[in-house]
Amino acid sequence: FAITEGNPKWEKKNLTYSIENYTPDLAKEDVDNAIRKAFKVWSDVSPLTFTKISQGEADIKISFYYGDHYDNSPFDGPNGILAHAFQPGPGIGGDAHFDEGEEWTKDHRNYNLYRVAAHEFGHSLGLSHSSDIGALMFPSYGFSDTNDIQLSQDDINGIQAIYGPGNNPIQPTGPTTPHACDRKLTFDAATTIRGEKIFFKDRFYLRKNPYDSEAEVNFISLFWPSLPSGIEAAYEDAERDLVKFFKGNKYWVTQGQYVLPGYPKSIYSTFGFPATVKKIDAAFSDGYTGKTYFFVENKYWRYNERRRSMDAGYPKLITNDFPGIGSKVDAVINDNEFLYFFSRTRQFKFEPQNKRVVAVLKANSWFNC
């Protein structure tokens, strides 16, 4: 996080705001609601309170403008610059301006007012832009779940560096952005995708393509807006150029960045898992045999993709057929003739033909740290 140069801050905790004009894109109460929620994002983690007033001059004045609006920072119409806000202070200090040249929405379509307002109010309170891609104060607009903006730990650290923690006895925390070379990095899921390897952690993917030494870290929603965070397993059905994602007892099917219609579906009806299976830990598919292996707790299932049914005689114990990888796995990918099982911070390179672990690596060994 970064605090605005000179550390401008509000000396009082109880701040007021007013909405000077309304965008015609949304109903008045939708604008009121979006602005109220956007302030609540910050009041939940700090001692600040925000009260809407309609008489007198508010600390933070919110307005919508087209183009040049005489504050030395003209707006540029659709896309580009969406909004800006001023650091704490009298007059225009703290004020937030939104580009009326945009289409303001209350759902996943561009641009969600709640999402943009929550960011701008960070500036109104004294924060600058953060270089943490998972932070709300990251400068670029990133779509995420519109129902509930979640401040990252970086944002919380920032606002509390200025105003201290809130009065909530239970101090809220936020997600942190994974760093590829973090020795403690663990994965929720992993899969190959068209020659690349993608790893999943919370809201993020870490992407490793063979031609780039560095990992790309970004939101899962950047590629698949309708997928949830916290993906638990994924595998590529290379024959049909599909990737399947699992979370809880549901799964999604994608082709490239396209999520096929009609998903999520139940893992019980499609794959025939018993109701005792609540989630999938890891999965990989063997392109040669057309068999997909699902790992659940200490057991694994084998599914015949061509016959579209589970093979008889399963589940079996993982330790019987994959000795050395432990009794439970987080993720697995297949690469050439080897399987790579991820368990916490370790990775087991497994040779299926001889059923033996040939190397134990760090989980993030793919990222050339």
Binding site: V116, E120, S128, I133, P139, S140
Partner: protein
């Protein structure tokens, strides 16, 4: 081929506009051209690439241009 040159000039304008707005690049309105290293543009571009976690090349490569075209907040990334 002309189109390619045109695109290149457009990209330079995007870079200049972005760095002036968000990275305090001072050009007094003079159009930047493809000059060699150690120009202020290269330094500011490197600062922007580092901020966004991009590969720090000092060149307006594809990833950098893609990031510059992303919708964003109008507050500068470096304080004035």
């Amino acid at each position: 081929f002309p189109a390619h040159l045109e695109t290149e000039q457009q990209d330079l304008e995007i870079v200049q506009n972005y760095l002036e707005k968000f990275y305090d690049l001072k050009t007094e309105g003079v159009k930047i051209s493809k000059k060699k290293d150690s120009s202020p543009v290269v330094e500011k571009l490197k600062k922007m690439q580092k901020f966004f976690g991009l590969k720090v090349t000092g060149k307006p490569d594809l990833e950098t241009l893609k990031m510059m075209k992303n919708p964003r907040c109008g507050v500068p990334d470096v304080s004035k």
